[in-house]
């Protein structure tokens, strides 16, 4: 789709906004609707749009599959790691109360970290799956 000027210009305008919205959903998920899962999918959609309009190869140069393969387990490790950190700090697994001085504040921090882990895994898995599907046809 390299010759579609309208598509390219509109995509260039849209992609930063989609990414910004994804980050908003990620970090605002504890105040409004949303969370790591939705944010990851929205963020992946931005990359997938880029790949569709500007070609798979340029998208692969921007988001390298090798980095994605590291990010996929990293998200799960962040999630599980938060749980282990709770045990080390003297709490129960995935009981975030011990993460900060104040129990409620600790819960808040834990939820944010855990959602970050979910978001990282979901978005990198979605992008990787799309790359593999799209890359196989040629």
């Amino acid at each position: 789709m390299r010759h579609h000027v309208v598509l390219r210009v509109v995509a260039k305008l849209l992609i930063p906004m989609i990414m910004l919205f994804g980050l908003y959903v990620q970090f605002h998920g504890d105040y409004g609707p949303g969370g790591g899962f939705q944010a990851g999918v929205i963020f992946a959609a931005a990359i997938i749009l880029y790949a569709i309009v500007f070609g798979l190869e340029s998208a692969r140069r921007v988001v390298r599959p090798a980095i994605l393969r590291v990010l996929v387990p990293l998200g799960v490790l962040i999630y599980g790691g938060v749980g282990v950190a709770n045990i080390l700090l003297g709490g129960n697994y995935l009981d975030y109360s011990v993460l900060a001085h104040d129990s409620a504040h600790g819960q808040h921090v834990g939820i944010l970290l855990v959602e970050l882990g979910v978001g990282i895994t979901v978005s990198s898995v979605m992008i990787l799956i799309f790359f593999t599907f799209a890359g196989r046809g040629r």
Partner: protein, 169 residues
Amino acid sequence: MVVTAVAVVRQRDLFAAVMLTGIFSLLSAGLFVDWDAVDVAFTEASVGAGIVTVLMLGTLALTAPTEKKAVHSRILPLVVVTLTGAALIYGTLDMPLYGDPEAPINRHVVPRYLNESLEETNVPNVVAAVLASYRGYDTLGETTVIFTAGIGVLLLLGGRRRNKGGGRK
């Protein structure tokens, strides 16, 4: 939604069927908004109508664009589907009315979630508090499922093709 569902089944052109599934997802997202389940609607719109449609189109690009003619008889699948559907509808007869305050789901842990999650977790969005904190194990499991699914797809499709000359391409 019923119209789109029937259209998906009747459609032989798979491209149109994928598009109709996307429309179906978007309609159900609207339905969830109407039921005040904004988080679920959000997920349905982004995953069901967005990513899944794109992935289906990607699959279509790898396979044939039209459905093959059915080889086997259609009677047995029809009977199975009808029986399952009837059993499911029979199961809903016992369920409490939607939004009934006396329903078991609204009396067990939900009041605690609704009344105390703000003090206990400092997070105003109850859905996020329940998902990530009270039901943290479930969400960890879901994340692991996605992780496993991603690895599975990568192993099946993305492996480096070592035998480029012979065998499968």
